[in-house]
């Protein structure tokens, strides 16, 4: 579903955020990118979104090489990839349902098709009763659930999550993770950058550990910290 081949990203000023990274992520996988701040987790997410161009290497998303994608086609890539960020990235002047609907408006769906889809996904994230609220009237956990609903409403094959629980307390984080787990079970591939030990250890999914932009460890059902042999 996603393949990175020898991807290197060097920012202006010489910071190496990704160093010859190769990864192969299969359809339906749930992959954690873990590592300390500055290890290059977020950069990988942004490279997969073509939010940043690679310095070297190739990235395939759903079989397409996105590193050579012409700029005008980037919106099409983003429509097939759902995104969830630490700071929710909701539109402050739109209500909950308008925020979710926006992802469908962008696709040019007719209003008659948008309404039921929005209702359904708000039901899924448990916010059906808060559809008319504005983001500022919601708690952090609720805002993040709106963000998840928006990224999932058009059923993208891939979801990229950058520290989705970074601003949330542990209990709320568990709620978001349960939601992502449910979405993953529908066949959606999820890549999630995090430094939340508890979540990674509890989920028992594939873990890719990064350090200074390089892959240090890639385990099919790993933990946050490497097991020290006794």
């Amino acid at each position: 579903m996603i393949r990175l081949e020898n991807v290197t990203k060097v920012y202006e000023g010489g910071t190496v955020a990704a160093n010859d990274v190769s990864l192969d992520i299969q359809k339906g996988e749930f992959v954690f990118l873990v590592g300390a701040s500055g290890s290059g987790k977020s950069t990988l997410i942004r490279l997969m979104l073509r939010d940043e161009p690679v310095t070297r290497g190739t990235i395939y998303v759903a079989g397409k090489d996105i590193t050579t994608l012409p700029k005008w086609k980037i919106p099409y890539l983003r429509r097939s990839v759902g995104t969830v960020f630490q700071d929710y990235k909701l539109l402050p002047n739109k209500t909950v349902s308008e925020n979710v609907a926006f992802a469908l408006e962008v696709l040019g769906r007719p209003a008659s098709a948008i309404k039921p889809q929005v209702e359904q996904v708000l039901d899924l994230v448990g916010l059906a009763d808060k559809a008319a609220r504005y983001p500022r009237q919601l708690s952090g956990g609720e805002q993040q659930r709106v963000s998840v609903a928006r990224s999932f409403v058009n059923r993208p094959p891939i979801m990229l999550c950058d520290e989705p629980t970074g601003n949330l307390d542990p209990k709320t984080s568990v709620g978001i993770m349960k939601l992502l787990d449910r979405i993953n079970r529908t066949g959606t591939t999820i890549v999630m950058a995090t430094h939340d030990h508890a979540i990674v250890d509890a989920m028992q999914r594939r873990v890719v550990a990064l350090e200074s932009g390089s892959v240090m460890r890639d385990e099919a059902t790993g933990r946050y910290e490497q097991d020290v042999p006794e």
């Binding site: 977020s42 940043e52 960020f85 926006f102 992802a103 040019g108 209003a111």
Partner: protein, 308 residues
Amino acid sequence: MSRFFFLVKEALTNLRRNALVVAGAILAVFISLSLAFGALVVNEVLRINTLAWQDGVHVIAFLKDEGAAGVPPGAHAQLQAEVETWEEVKPPVRYVDKNEAWIEFQQIFEGQDELLDIDPTILPASLRIELVDIAFYQSVKFRLEQQSQVVRRVNTAAEEIEQLENLSNVLNVLGLGMAIVLGLSAVVLIANTIRLAIYARRDEVAVMKLVGASNWFIRVPFLLEGMIEGVIGAALAVFVVWLGSSRLAEATQSFALFKLDVANRFFFQWGILFLIFGAVAGVVGSLLGLSRYLRDADGVGADIPGGI
């Protein structure tokens, strides 16, 4: 089609939900276009008035009495007929005979008995001549002076006419220059205000791009918003200047020397132009304001905090 309606609806909703910023942009358009439109109206008032001042008699030719040496009877009428055929002259040329001259003299110096105590027969008959263009006064004066057997003396308002010409030219250039300078600064001010409004919403633009909105999908509502703000501001400016000018004209109706009433047609024609100008300025302002956030299709990154 449904997409277009969605974008229009977006623009209207945004206008409603960003009321304060929208009011600021409309105010900027209103103030700058009021000044520009005001300058234009002042210019028009000056033009009307210099035209009015130019109306009337420009050259007076005082004639020798008929029957005096070398002036046969009928010479006055003959000269009047000839002058009327000159192309610099706007016919008819009015002939004022000695009797009329005396009546006029009495009117002018009414109450000043010592001046009226003269022999009425010494007042000459005269031709009152209006010119097609006051710039011709010198050539007309010269041609009249050639008729020295009938013409005694030629009077023109030469200096006054020239000064008036110069003044009206200077005022015209000044008024137009003001309107142009104020119009240009209006574009800059409007563009800047809308740019600031968009700056305040740059995160919103970043989120739209993140969700996969194309640049035009993001642009259209902003352009419509800018256009609506520009048109409303311009309409307010035209209305307020029109109201002010017509009220002022009513209040000063009794001034004989200076007329303030500008034709409604002038307001209508220029008003429409200003509305278009406001709309264009609004659209240009939005385009300029957005270009920074849409320039680079890869550029969501600049707005995503969180580092590498």
